[in-house]
């Protein structure tokens, strides 16, 4: 005998209908912190560019499903000549969890608006940006910075770099006094 307690409420046993089934390959993830609206991005690459991008995309696909994983996106963008910050890439990816980074995959069509977003970024670093940024550490105003100080800056500020990365970067850049001519350095950086 059920206790007569059930008042007729609005929805008896209606569970909240879950919106997206797990398998749906939605480009826009669940509404987290203001992600980039990729569907609103107009992809404007030339046919030649598309060919290049498609080729690179294929190189990065190591599974063979014509997709790449989230954690490859930053690198493929760099391979294609862009210099996004990790923060920018994370935002474009919808601030994914570590698990999503490793496991979520996107196809070429899904990747293009992401790349376009980076290409369109008005805050892209220019030669002048880099030089001015380094000039801050030019204590004597003579066009050089101490290699050792630059290393510390790269390790402790911004998006910290690891020692091995910094070693690779700085190879051959310091003169016999351990100084780096930063304009030359930036030119070198931008040449590849």
């Amino acid at each position: 005998m059920a206790p007569k307690k059930d008042v007729k409420k609005a929805e008896p046993k209606k569970a909240e209908p879950a919106p997206a089934p797990a398998a749906a390959p939605e480009p826009a993830p669940a509404p987290k912190a203001a992600a980039v609206d990729l569907s609103a991005v107009k992809v404007e690459f030339s046919a030649d560019q598309m060919d290049d991008y498609k080729e690179a995309f294929g190189l990065f696909d190591r599974v063979g499903d014509s997709k790449i994983s989230f954690d490859q996106v930053a690198d493929i963008m760099r391979a294609l000549g862009q210099n996004p910050t990790n923060k920018a890439v994370n935002k474009i990816l919808g601030n994914p969890s570590a698990e999503e980074m490793a496991n979520k995959r996107i196809d070429f069509e899904g990747f293009l608006p992401m790349l376009q977003t980076v290409v369109n970024d008005p805050q892209k670093g220019t030669f002048d940006d880099y030089v001015e940024g380094l000039r801050v550490f030019d204590k004597e105003g003579n066009g050089t910075v101490m290699g050792a100080e630059l290393r510390i800056v790269l390790q402790t500020l911004g998006e910290k770099m690891k020692e091995a990365e910094i070693d690779a970067l700085m190879q051959g850049q310091e003169d016999e006094n351990g100084c780096v001519n930063y304009e030359a350095f930036v030119k070198h950086i931008m040449s590849v």
Binding site: R62, R78, G133
Partner: protein, 87 residues
């Protein structure tokens, strides 16, 4: 709390480590921009260096390349496998 003791436990580098503006948002922003440029450069350089290997195909199967599992979020410059679509 002034730390004017001569024998401070802090390792005193010759460079003034304390001059690094750790909390300055502008400095951090500038640093992040530069680091992004550096990372871009290094990735492209690595891709360039890897290219000859791709053309050689399976002649130089790297002994060290086991497993493609990258740690999440790695800007992995450690990825050292031949990603050529060999068929």
């Amino acid at each position: 709390m002034d730390c004017h003791i001569e024998e401070c436990s802090q390792p005193q580098e010759e460079e003034d480590v304390m001059d690094i503006p750790l909390d300055d948002p502008e400095a951090n922003k500038a640093a992040a921009k530069i680091q992004a440029g550096f990372r871009g450069h290094m990735t492209r350089k690595k891709m360039k260096d890897d290219k000859p290997r791709e053309e050689v195909s399976s002649d130089e199967v790297l002994n060290g390349s086991q497993g493609d599992s990258e740690p999440a979020g790695s800007e992995g410059l450690e990825r050292d496998d031949s990603s050529a679509p060999e068929q």
